[in-house]
């Protein structure tokens, strides 16, 4: 029994970053094709990480590195938590911790761009955290449990009960994946935008840590998308892949918003949809 758990954790540790890297590689190729370019090889994100690991480490202060490692550790922990079917509320706290580590790392240096990036990251957290909490509340109302493992046993796809929350979650996904209307703190495509913001003072192996954390984050969000159609794993995979493609289209089709616009948009449209869905769930129960 025990070794099964360890085996599962080991598989997550190995497969999640590879899956995330391949997804990001597909993202870069599709983005290039949408701009009528050839694009990089599929495994380019992995090449980038290996290159960064081989570079000279340059540090401004040691605390910065501790925060980078904390960010990675909490993101990895969150992926393990989700795959093991643990508490979803706890999962949200772990993801928030990971983000706070990133923000503190950005704040620990004196570069103004890093500070601006960190402040924008805080604004992003303020914008999307309520929607995530409402998503978990919605899941609780449907399945009667906060455990991720109970979603699979409920039998009915969550998407039927939580359609509006799903759309709100797609908005959150755009922020979390650093996609175009909301890639304010740091961006994977706009390299000159506030000079990579929160990651400006990380270089070489320390930037590689943040990149690996991003691989895990992509895998985490992909699995979270799959939660919405868990009874059938193939449909869940197709749903998650379709949504990821939609995010790439959105990334290429929209210009970047200002931080205040993002906050207004998430708190009106996003929160409104999530609340409507929860009210609808209550009405269905007959209060």
């Amino acid at each position: 029994m025990m070794w099964e758990v360890w085996f599962k954790i080991l598989m997550v540790l190995i497969l999640a970053p590879i899956g995330g890297a391949v997804l990001m590689g597909i993202d870069r190729i599709l983005t290039a094709r949408m701009q009528r370019r050839v694009g990089p090889p599929l495994l380019q994100p992995i090449y980038d990480v290996f290159k960064l690991l081989g570079k000279e480490p340059i540090l401004l202060n040691r605390i910065q590195v501790i925060y980078a490692f904390l960010h990675l550790a909490f993101i990895v922990l969150s992926v393990i938590f989700l795959v093991m079917g643990q508490d979803l509320l706890m999962l949200l706290f772990i993801i928030a911790f990971a983000n706070i580590a990133l923000i503190l790392g950005g704040m620990s240096v004196r570069s103004p761009y890093s500070r601006i990036g960190s402040q924008r990251e805080i604004l992003q957290m303020v914008a999307y955290e309520p929607i995530l909490v409402l998503m978990v509340v919605g899941i609780y109302l449907v399945t009667g449990s906060f455990l991720a493992s109970d979603i699979a046993s409920s039998g009915r796809p969550l998407l039927f009960s939580l359609p509006l929350i799903f759309v709100a979650f797609l908005l959150v996904l755009t922020v979390k994946l650093q996609k175009s209307p909301f890639d304010l703190a740091t961006s994977h495509h706009a390299h000159q935008e506030i000079v990579k913001g929160i990651t400006i003072e990380y270089s070489g192996p320390y930037l590689a840590i943040l990149e690996i954390a991003h691989f895990y984050k992509v895998a985490l969000l992909f699995i979270m998308l799959m939660l919405f159609w868990l009874p059938n794993i193939y449909i869940a995979l197709a749903l998650a892949a379709g949504c990821y493609f939609l995010e790439i289209v959105i990334d290429n089709a929209f210009a970047r918003l200002t931080p205040i616009w993002m906050l207004q948009y998430m708190w009106t449209v996003g929160l409104g949809m999530a609340f409507t869905n929860i009210i609808w769930l209550y009405m269905g129960r007959g209060l």
């Binding site: 870069r28 290039a32 701009q35 009528r36 370019r37 050839v38 694009g39 990089p40 090889p41 380019q44 090449y47 980038d48 290996f50 290159k51 081989g54 570079k55 000279e56 480490p57 340059i58 390299h191 000159q192 000079v195 990579k196 990651t199 400006i200 003072e201 990380y202 270089s203 070489g204 930037l207």
Partner: protein, 161 residues
Amino acid sequence: MTKLAKSPWVVHYNCNSCNGCDIEIVACLTPMYDLERFGILHVGNPKHADVLLVTGSVNHRNVRVLRNVYDQMPDPKVVVALGVCTSSGGIFADCYNVYGGVDKVIPVDVFVPGCPPRPEAMIDGIVKAAAKLEALRGGAKQGGAEKPKVFMVPPVPKEQA
């Protein structure tokens, strides 16, 4: 190709250039030439970069900035000097404030000739420099590129002039 050569990230510094070379660098990023095919990214931050692209004849005002940008890049790093100004000063060679050559300030690994060089030549230069990144890790010395000795227009004989 080896690992380092597979993702050279490029930072560009305009050292008193006339913008001819800079426009051609922008052309390299367009769908026509597409630098990202080689895993090359155009970053704005020297701390993330492996390759420094320099354009223009260096002058006394910006030599300090050029050195600063170069020093901020983590090793291994290479320098690609684009255009004739970076090797000799070009048409600005006789100006009172011009250093005349990037190699007088920082070690240059590849000179790309032309005024401005064609985007194909620039991409070739960056790829050659990326191949040198791996050699640098093996203990090779930085810099020491040979200056181009190509005349785009052959010199006119004296009797005809």
